[in-house]
Amino acid sequence: MIRTLWSSPGAWVRMWCARIRAELLQEQLVLILHPSRWRLRWLGLFTLVGHPLFGWIWGQWLPQPYESPALRAVMGTLGLLLISESITNDPSSKLSARIFSVVFWIQLPVFFSWMYLCNNGNTVWLASFCAMVLIYYHVTDWRAATLGTVSGALLAWTLFQAFGPAVSPMSQQQFSINAVVIAFSWASAMLLGLSSANLRREHLQHTLTTMGIMAHELRTPLATMSLIGDAVRNESRQVKEPGGGQRLDQLVVRLHTLVRNMNQQIDTQIANARLLRLPTHRESVAAAALLRNVVKDYPYRNSRERESVVLVLRKDFSFESSYRLFAQVINNLLKNAFRALAATSSAAKPGDLRIEVGVLNGYGRIIVTDQGTGIAPELQARIFEPFFSTDRGTGHGLGLAFCQQVVEGAGGSIRVKSEPGRGAIFIIELPILR
């Protein structure tokens, strides 16, 4: 793919044109970035107070060549529109977006360009103009900001030609300096605006993918459940036959197991989804007992999975954490290990998933080793990031992020050693509670 692109620059150019066109035209226009009620109120207040304040600063305290209290009063009044109930009540409505856009277009590019021109591009207004550009790209969509800046500057220049005060022409050198500084700040603002638009989309995409995967994970047991229903229907017709009642009982057991496993899965998802606000409850946790319980209660999919787990207790230790959360950490690690084992080409043998508990150099260690497919070196650095998954099809990328949060919350560390095709070793080190 890459090689063909290099060898035919035409295709390369076409690809980029398509990308740029998509970025410009297809992505949704977000006129108010983060349209929250409080953000709008603060922006309104800032406008209302800021303009009179700076009018006083540049007019009285540190006087500049040109300042207009009347204009400042008008600009300040615009802030009232942002605070008004109609817009703060429904920040995401179309009307709010229109008012917001007009207010910011007038008070940012139009007003600042006017002031810059009337003050003949002096130091204060060069800096203020650059700051304005950066602010503008932070409050609205980068495409709207670009269009607004160009049109605002043109309008201000036209007004300046007609009604502006007379100023002495700027030297060629000063003009060049100002142009470079403005170009620099404008380009930076545009780039940052574009990249944060991408980042917002990416976050949304991650969240949606995760929701999709969670839904899929719940659908898997439901598919089995539906077959159990069919089997019950078949068996109920033959319940009088020898062994019929017994087979029905077995199906009921299956149903209960399935529901238990689904509940455990839901618990896992809920725990993982609380990544950023883990409860801070702490207690003394005994490593050996915890691992024994987790290994005993894990929802294995078949007896072979259960038999592949070997728990080795070298030396028990206690550490300070939440028992429930830490059990979830081990659950996540087991789930990943089983997924890696399922992706290999041969059946799991006893010992293919090995958990060791021991003490080394004064630190408690829990080591989870699997003989699964392993993790490529370039991915290993990223697996603890939220939403990063080595398998975007079935993994949501929250499990290991959760593990890291909990382990670090207990003052410990977690790391991985792995080679593709040769399994993975997860090493948790924890300070021992004496």
Binding site: A223, L227, I228, D230, A342, T344, A347, D391, G393
Partner: protein
């Protein structure tokens, strides 16, 4: 639909990464199916990749029967011998059903590995993968896809697989077409004839072969009992009556044959090389047109080769449904 000239049961292979799902499939699928369940793509692929040479050898054996028939060896005893000696034929898979979402390798990648395997392909999908399945179907990679959330999925699966099992296998049709004359073949293509033969076949036999000389269908039921459906076109009745008379049958019996009330198993006896008293069995009309008559004669045990044990016996020996890890 056309009536298959050659039919026999085959295995149905399932590949899914969820053992619980496979175990439940094992419970709900019809008992008479030979079902193989696989948990790992690689194991399943390895198994299926061993089949094409076996299919080839099997087709070759059938081709040889036709060759020998051309040099004068009757087909009926050859087919009975083939059924008795080639019991492994039941183990060849006819249909595979792969789950799409699996760790390591998805269902389409797994199907992609089966380049030479000739059976039917079904993909099981989740809702989110439907577009993948549609595009795979359009590219001819799969014959059918079924969403796992389909209401009453087991019944749906069974219907789909039954339909695929009932379809003639092109390779075999070509081989056995050579044993028929053009008019015989044309008779079988008449829709009402094909329909009635299909329902007859499914109610009496698990496997069958259509042959042309003598014209009829040799079938075997699940218990290994063979029978012969003698077919006779209305135009051929006079010749058959003449043959019966020449073999010493009474004139009244010959009249019955001429009138299409009875058929006689003389040709079957000749083919089996076991002349005995000719049997007369009431004939019935096949299809609406009244151009074809049939009568079903059991093939005597004495005439069957030893080892003709049938599908049920084989299934009992090989058909245990276990999930292969």
């Amino acid at each position: 639909m056309s009536f298959p000239l050659f039919h026999r049961p085959g295995a149905i292979v399932f590949l899914d990464d969820d053992p619980a799902y496979l175990e439940m499939l094992a419970m709900v699928l019809p008992r008479q199916w030979h079902v193989k369940l696989y948990l790992r793509p690689q194991t399943c692929i390895n198994q299926l990749q061993q089949e094409p040479p076996l299919w080839e050898a099997d087709a070759w054996t059938q081709q040889e029967m036709i060759e020998r028939w051309r040099t004068g060896s009757p087909l009926i005893p050859q087919v009975l011998n083939y059924w008795a000696s080639h019991t492994a034929r039941f183990g060849l898979a006819r249909v595979c059903v792969f789950d799409y979402a699996m760790p390591g390798m998805d269902g389409l990648q797994a199907l992609g590995e089966l380049t030479d395997w000739p059976g039917g392909r079904v993909l099981l999908t989740g809702q989110a993968d439907e577009h993948v399945a549609v595009s795979a179907f359009n590219r001819g990679l799969i014959d059918q896809f079924i969403a796992k959330q389909t209401v009453d999925i087991s019944q749906h699966l069974i219907t789909v697989i039954q339909r695929m099992l009932a379809q003639p296998q092109i390779r075999y049709s070509q081989i056995w077409r050579a044993a028929l004359t053009q008019p015989q073949h044309a008779l079988l293509q008449v829709p009402s004839v094909a329909r009635q033969l299909a329902s007859l076949a499914s109610s009496h036999w698990v496997e069958h072969v259509v042959i042309g000389q003598p014209f009829g269908i040799l079938g075997m039921d699940a218990d290994g009992r063979a029978s012969w459906l003698q077919l006779e076109s209305a135009a051929g009745l006079a010749d058959l009556a003449e043959l019966a008379e020449s073999q010493g049958l009474k004139a009244a019996a010959a009249d019955d044959i001429r009138a299409g009330r009875h058929l006689v198993d003389l040709e079957l006896q000749q083919a089996l090389g076991q002349p005995g008293p000719a049997r007369l069995i009431p004939a019935f009309s096949i299809g609406h047109e009244g151009t074809l008559l049939g009568a079903l004669f059991p093939v005597e045990l004495a005439a069957s080769p030893p080892g003709l044990t049938g599908y049920k016996h084989w299934l009992k020996k090989h058909g245990r449904r276990t999930v292969r890890d």
